[in-house]
């Protein structure tokens, strides 16, 4: 749903970075996307195809790198990876945890010429 504006930001950011680094054309965008964000790679792809003409992204493809949800328990001090965002420590069952990763949504790199 909100992927339109998000993908617009993505295209703008990549174009700015290409300008700064004297790239005329971007071929590949590596996007880190945490499993605990509300963004869907499929709709990003959909809007990307719609938004990329007449930009430096016109021939670019996006590589999605998913980041797992990782938590640290303050009770037993162990770190764990969760399949789903249900914030219980799988080791001791306590809920006093911090989210270490999973909320990422950033451009790791762009490649082009």
């Amino acid at each position: 749903m909100h992927e339109y504006s998000v993908t617009k930001s993505l295209v703008d950011l990549c174009n700015q970075e290409a300008d700064k680094n004297n790239l005329n054309k971007i071929h590949k965008i590596t996007l880190k996307i945490g499993r605990f964000t509300g963004f869907s790679p499929d709709s990003i792809k959909f809007y990307f195809d719609y938004l990329k003409p007449n930009t430096k992204c016109v021939d670019a493809k996006i590589i999605f790198k998913e980041v797992p949800i990782r938590i640290k328990c303050h009770d037993c001090k162990q770190e764990s990876v969760l399949d789903e965002p249900l914030f219980l420590c799988p080791h001791c069952g306590k809920t006093d945890i911090s989210v270490i990763s999973g909320r990422e949504f950033y451009v790791e790199s762009i490649e082009g010429e």
């Binding site: 749903m1 909100h2 339109y4 504006s5 998000v6 930001s9 993505l10 703008d12 950011l13 990549c14 970075e17 290409a18 680094n21 790239l23 071929h27 996007l31 605990f36 964000t37 509300g38 963004f39 789903e84 965002p85 249900l86 914030f87 219980l88 809920t95 006093d96 945890i97 989210v99 949504f105 950033y106 451009v107 790791e108 790199s109 762009i110 490649e111 082009g112 010429e113």
Partner: protein
């Protein structure tokens, strides 16, 4: 081929703008609450109650976010409270830029700014607007499994209001299950069981917000 390491958040501009908005609100000593729920859970009804309760003691502004129209604003205008309307048109959430556009309309200091986000449990959670905290509203007819199905909002919300508790006898909603689900997403959330129709439970919410209003004022000194 040349590779450029970027490492920049896609929403960097929204985050930066949200930070600017927050500075503006902090400069005004305003406590800003971003109120998020699915359509019809009771955002406008709860805001009305908060306005009625706090308006004699505190100055209040409502920022009303809707895709289209000003139905909620006209409902709230009966309360003689200052309101600014934002129409998001195609967007399903408020973002920091939309809020930034109305900042120039805020000409005086408000103790409390209540932002009614667009009715949607998913998208608004992702966009900071410069708020002090988010408050999620979950109404009993929606079912007790919503925190499990829409975890991000409940993970981020400091306050979760379970509304329409007057309907508990008629709907399939297990308060205990709902509380457990919320706790699973966010052990630190403050959960309130209320009814905007019968006023049940609202006193506790008022007292909590009164403390937050005090704390915001003291933070400045």
């Amino acid at each position: 081929m040349k590779k450029v390491e970027v490492f920049k958040p896609v929403l960097v501009s929204n985050k930066e703008r949200a930070r600017e908005n927050r500075k503006f609100f902090d400069g005004m000593d305003s406590l800003v609450i971003n109120i998020i729920s699915s359509p019809g859970a009771g955002k406008t009804s709860i805001i009305s109650k908060l306005v009625e309760h706090f308006k004699n003691k505190h100055t209040i502004l409502i920022i009303e976010g809707d895709i289209k129209g000003d139905i909620d604003s006209s409902r709230l205008s009966k309360l003689k409270v200052d309101i600014v309307q934002i129409n998001t048109l195609t967007e399903c959430h408020l973002d920091a830029f939309m809020v930034a556009q109305v900042l120039p309309k805020i000409e005086k200091k408000y103790d409390l700014i209540l932002v009614e986000n667009v009715g949607n449990l998913v998208c608004p959670a992702e966009f900071e607007i410069g708020e002090d905290f988010k408050s999620a509203i979950l109404s009993t007819p929606e079912g007790d499994d919503k925190p499990l199905k829409y975890p991000l909002l409940f993970h981020l919300a400091k306050v979760v209001v379970i509304n329409k508790c007057d309907l508990l006898p008629y709907v399939n909603f297990d308060l205990k299950k709902a509380r457990e689900a919320i706790k699973g997403e966010n052990p630190k959330a403050h959960v309130f069981e209320v009814s905007a129709k019968t006023d049940e439970g609202l006193g506790e919410l008022y007292r909590f917000l009164e403390r937050k209003l005090d704390a915001k004022k003291k933070a400045k000194r």
